[in-house]
């Protein structure tokens, strides 16, 4: 009998292991319950579930972007603001999974592990969330994308403070009015294709000439006499097995690095990429985070892509000007480009952006915002030189260093127009990236969007 007792210890150990497992599970539940709840398939919070008494979402000035009034969820009373901030704020549904109202629904509705998601409405404590975005700036960018051209354009525009990380403007088109969400059917599905995707965070685009920022950084770091060099551009030249040409074969003549940047000369930058070789190009792209995904308030940005071929000079050249092809095709994400520009503006160190300014209670802690995360993308010296050769614009009284891009995408679509850069004024330290799809020259399509937003943002001078 004693032996039986002693041997049964084995089964006792199993039981103790089970109790330990329950303890482990409880710990996991305590730490992760909030994340586990905020899932698009969670029927407790889908539809307008739980929004009847949810907390408000406000912009940086305290303007309500979404709030619950008499059991109804109402959005900004300005329709353009509603549309402009759709992807940032979200709507009643959980379709836009990266929006604040989707990813922090449990917080807004007063979820707590103690009461779960079915606390009677009269007994909930909900949280308000204050965003860093400025409704007016977003509205300006959105208006330009929607009405500034011959037809409403698809695209994205993001502006953020490269000192604090605050996102001032974040707009993605196409969108819709969250107060009146569309029924998507066969007729309109082409227009609404990808409407639930926030292009700022979740899309990648061919960069075209804005990628020359990366190529220039590689050249500055690796070629000692880069500023003494000049090149001759005939508009078209055979590099490797095929031609590389400038936009519409425009010849730029004899030019130096700064002029090549200004005229966005493909020949010069393709030659630089070939001279540097795939190894150094890949290394610089890696260093500047081109192949990285950034975690921004619990959302991972779409990964960019850069890979230079080792044995094809022509394709290597094309990757150096932001095109490439096939498996060597360049891709970048708008938020990522803004982050890269912020590194150029800020001595090589980029601050991770955030959309969340605060709220009532311990919202920041509950969300777990990593306010001080930074990336060292460039040496301070290189960053300064890259900034110096970027063309300078004067926008709304601000000194703006920026690079245009016009990326060929084929498929009978117009090029992606880009405008990325930063404000050099220390009292309004903003980095930005704007992209317009199926458009034309960066200077004709993307620049007006950025200008509209920056001009509105200029009124924030000194207040950021």
């Amino acid at each position: 009998m004693k032996r039986t007792l002693r041997r049964s210890t084995l089964i006792l150990i199993l039981t103790i292991a089970f109790i330990g497992g329950i303890g482990f599970f409880t710990a996991e539940l305590l730490f992760n319950a909030g994340d586990w709840v905020d899932q698009p398939y969670n029927a407790h919070i889908s539809g307008s579930g739980g929004l009847e008494k949810a907390g408000s979402i406000l912009d940086r000035d305290g303007n309500p972007l979404a709030q619950s009034v008499d059991g109804e969820r109402v959005y900004s009373d300005d329709e353009t603001v509603r549309r402009a901030l759709l992807h940032t704020v979200g709507d009643n549904s959980l379709n836009i999974s990266t929006a604040v109202q989707s990813k922090y629904r449990s917080l807004l509705t007063g979820y707590s592990l103690i009461w779960g998601l079915n606390m009677p409405q009269s007994m909930r404590t909900s949280r308000d969330i204050v965003l860093t975005v400025d409704a007016e700036t977003c509205k300006s960018a959105y208006s330009m994308l929607q009405t500034g051209f011959e037809e409403p354009k698809r695209g994205a525009c993001v502006i953020y403070n490269y000192k604090t990380g605050d996102v001032i403007c974040s707009v993605s088109t196409p969108g819709y009015d969250p107060a009146d969400p569309p029924q998507i059917n066969e007729e309109n599905e082409a227009y609404y294709d990808g409407v639930y995707l926030d292009n700022v965070l979740s899309s990648t685009f061919t960069p075209g000439s804005i990628f020359k920022i990366v190529t220039a950084a590689a050249a500055i770091e690796n070629i000692p006499d880069i500023y003494q060099r000049t090149w001759y551009c005939d508009g078209r030249e055979t590099i490797g097995k095929n031609d590389i040409h400038c936009y519409q074969d425009t010849a730029h003549g004899e030019i130096n690095l700064q002029e090549a940047m200004e005229h966005s000369c493909n020949i010069v930058f393709a030659k630089l990429a070939v001279e540097l070789g795939s190894e150094k190009m890949n290394a610089m792209a890696e260093k500047m985070g081109v192949n990285m995904s950034f975690e921004i308030d619990d959302v991972f940005t779409a990964k960019g892509h850069y890979l230079a071929p080792a044995n094809d000079e022509n394709v290597l050249g094309w990757t150096g000007v932001g095109q490439g092809s096939g498996e060597y095709e360049d891709k970048v994400n708008p938020m990522q480009m803004a982050i890269i520009c912020s590194a150029v503006a800020n001595q090589g160190t980029a601050v991770n952006p955030t959309y969340i300014k605060g709220g009532n209670g311990d919202v920041l802690k509950e969300i777990g915002i990593k306010q001080n995360k930074t990336y060292d993308f460039l040496d301070p010296n290189t960053a300064k030189q890259v900034g110096d050769i970027m063309p300078v614009y004067e926008i709304g009284g601000l000194t703006v260093h920026a690079k245009t891009g016009t990326a060929e995408v084929g498929d009978e679509k117009g090029p992606n127009a880009w405008f990325v850069g930063y404000v050099a004024d220390s009292d309004l330290p903003l980095a930005f990236a704007c992209v317009v799809e199926d458009a034309g020259l960066g200077s004709e399509y993307a620049r007006p969007v950025a200008e509209a937003a920056l001009e509105t943002a200029a009124r924030l001078r000194g207040t950021l």
Binding site: I22, N32, Q39, N42, S112, W115, L117, M123
Partner: protein
């Protein structure tokens, strides 16, 4: 004051009361198990006329030998390490030689097999002589085990009071289900509750008045969990709730039958082989007659009734594994049982019922170890199975025709601890939803019938832990899980007070089987273990499973010496 606030407060109040009540119920069940025992006194004693020493005999079966782990240790070189077994049966005391070198003698006559010994008989073991005396002749106090430190004649709680609390808990569940009515019959939960209460109190009355048993804690615990399982179904598939209740009644009948059937601990030895053959035939019938349901061919359909033979084989498996102490010591080799186990696990694997196969395998290890005490009996089979699995995986990677069959298993391994990366693929789909809805329920749950997890496949069976946690709160879910796990603590505590090692081994293994099954259910669903596909004991929907749980509970009840020896 706004009426809705008062109403809401009532709902919240009810939700808070239920987990507390669940904790009290489970605590009381276990507190009651510790009480009302016979005091720690020797049953008989052995008097050594040469030395004048007196040895208390405290167990129903006592091994005697030179080995330090014997119940009665004799330091005499002429005594074998395992010499003989002194055991008590209804007919009195017996001594059984278990293959000693020098033999065992009663009143000077060498015995073969079991021989009865009477008070004052002289037992000779090696060169040592003992005279069998009454227990009262030994008068030093004995140390009580910790579990039974509070032994007294008074019950911790009157059995009917415990049953009343359980009934109240089930009533509250029914009230909640009435309140969260999503279009069904408002009174359906109350009707079901009424039927459940009839079964519960009917069983209680039979045990109390007809069988005159003194204790009802183990049954109370089973009824508590069974009732939760039945009521969980009322707002999901009402018809299943009644099927479950009928299964509960059948399970209770099986429970009583098994207790009666194993009343004689020596019977198992005589009918072991026939029982094994029946078990194998039952499993084989699922292969021949079985229909593939959800990937595993473990269901047999007879007319409109379907059942899983593998569930019933579990009880036979436990039954054939255990044995009385003298039989265990004479017949050391496990070959019969090993062949039986290999056939069972093999048949289950053929049915692709890997969850049950794993439970059988672990139970086999437990039985083998309980019988032999040799750690090799664990290491060797585990090594063999791990090797086979690795080989299978290697082969599966190369030849797709095998991969198909085991794909699901391998997929789960791939997603293990990374389920969020597979949220919308088969490999992680269930687990992430389980976690989401457990978290959605909070500590107190969203209310019976008010959850959404019930819409998912297998939410009432393999994933019932999440259904329970979402609707009743994670406290109730964990209390329910722990109450099953604690059966093992209880089974172990009564080990040495069983009437035979047959009971103590079978009780420990039955409890172990339930714990293993529980672990696979709870941890598989929550991604703490990479396996799913088994039921939560007593709570998961599934008639065969519920009946087999009651069958296993019978072994634990039988191990309690009061079951057979004390009447009210």
């Amino acid at each position: 004051m706004d009426m809705s606030v008062i109403f809401d407060a009532g709902v919240v109040g009810l939700r808070i009361i239920m987990p507390l009540l669940a904790i009290v119920i489970v605590y009381q069940c276990y507190a009651a198990m510790r009480r009302r025992r016979r005091p720690e006194k020797p049953l008989v004693s052995l008097y050594n006329p040469n030395s004048g020493g007196m040895i208390p005999v405290v167990f129903w079966e006592n091994s005697i030998g030179r080995s330090k782990s014997s119940d009665i240790v004799i330091n005499d070189l002429s005594v074998s390490r395992n010499h003989c077994v002194l055991l008590r049966r209804n007919a009195g005391w017996f001594i059984s030689d278990v293959g000693s070198l020098s033999g065992t003698f009663v009143n000077g006559v060498r015995i073969h097999g079991r021989a009865q010994v009477l008070i004052d008989d002289i037992i000779t073991v090696g060169k040592t002589e003992y005279q069998l005396k009454r227990g009262d002749d030994f008068n030093s106090p004995l140390r009580a085990s910790r579990f039974f430190s509070k032994v007294s004649d008074k019950p911790a709680i009157q059995a009917w009071k415990l049953m009343f609390m359980i009934t109240m808990f089930h009533l509250f569940m029914a009230v909640e289900a009435m309140f969260w009515n999503d279009g069904g019959n408002v009174y359906a939960p109350m009707i079901l509750f009424g039927a459940l209460a009839v079964v519960e109190w009917g069983f209680f009355s039979v045990s109390y008045f007809a069988l005159r048993r003194v204790n009802f804690e183990l049954e109370s615990l089973g009824l508590f969990l069974t009732g939760i399982g039945v009521l969980l179904l009322v707002r999901q598939v009402e018809r299943s709730a009644y099927v479950q209740l009928i299964a509960a009644a059948l399970g209770i009948v099986l429970y009583c039958v098994i207790i009666k059937f194993i009343e004689d601990p020596d019977r198992s030895d005589k009918i072991r082989i026939p029982m094994m053959i029946i078990a194998v035939l039952m499993l084989a019938s699922s292969i021949v007659l079985g229909r593939v349901t959800n990937g595993a061919a473990n269901w047999v359909y007879i007319g409109s009734i379907s059942f899983q033979p593998s569930e019933f084989v579990k009880t036979i498996f436990i039954f054939t594994g255990a044995g009385a102490l003298d039989r265990l010591q004479t017949k050391r080799n496990l070959i019969e049982f090993i062949i039986f186990s290999v056939v069972c696990v093999g048949l289950l694997a053929l049915m692709s019922d890997f969850g049950t196969a794993l439970i059988f395998f672990v139970t086999f290890l437990l039985v083998a170890f309980m019988r032999s005490g040799d750690i090799k009996t664990i290491i060797l089979p585990v090594g063999a199975v791990a090797g086979a699995f690795a080989l299978l995986r290697f082969v599966a990677d190369r030849f797709n025709f095998i991969a198909d069959r085991f794909n699901y298993v391998f997929n789960r391994f791939k997603a293990y601890r990374h389920v969020w990366d597979y949220a919308n693929e088969a490999a992680g789909y269930q687990q992430v939803r389980v976690l989401t809805y457990i978290a959605s329920g909070g500590l107190f749950g969203v209310g019976l019938g008010n959850g959404y997890f019930k819409q998912y496949f297998a939410s009432e069976s393999d994933l019932v832990f999440a259904l329970l946690a979402e609707e009743m709160g994670v406290i109730v879910a964990i209390v329910a899980a722990l109450s099953v796990a604690l059966l093992m603590i209880y089974a172990r505590a009564i080990t040495t007070r069983s009437r035979s090692t047959f009971y103590s081994i079978s009780a420990c293994c039955a409890a172990g089987l339930l714990v293993v099954q529980l672990s696979l259910n709870v941890f598989g669903a929550t991604d703490i273990l990479p396996l799913t596909g088994v039921t939560f004991p007593f709570i998961s929907s599934g008639g065969s499973s519920l009946i087999s749980c009651w069958g296993l509970l019978a072994f634990i009840k039988a191990a309690d010496e009061r079951t057979y020896s004390i009447k009210r």
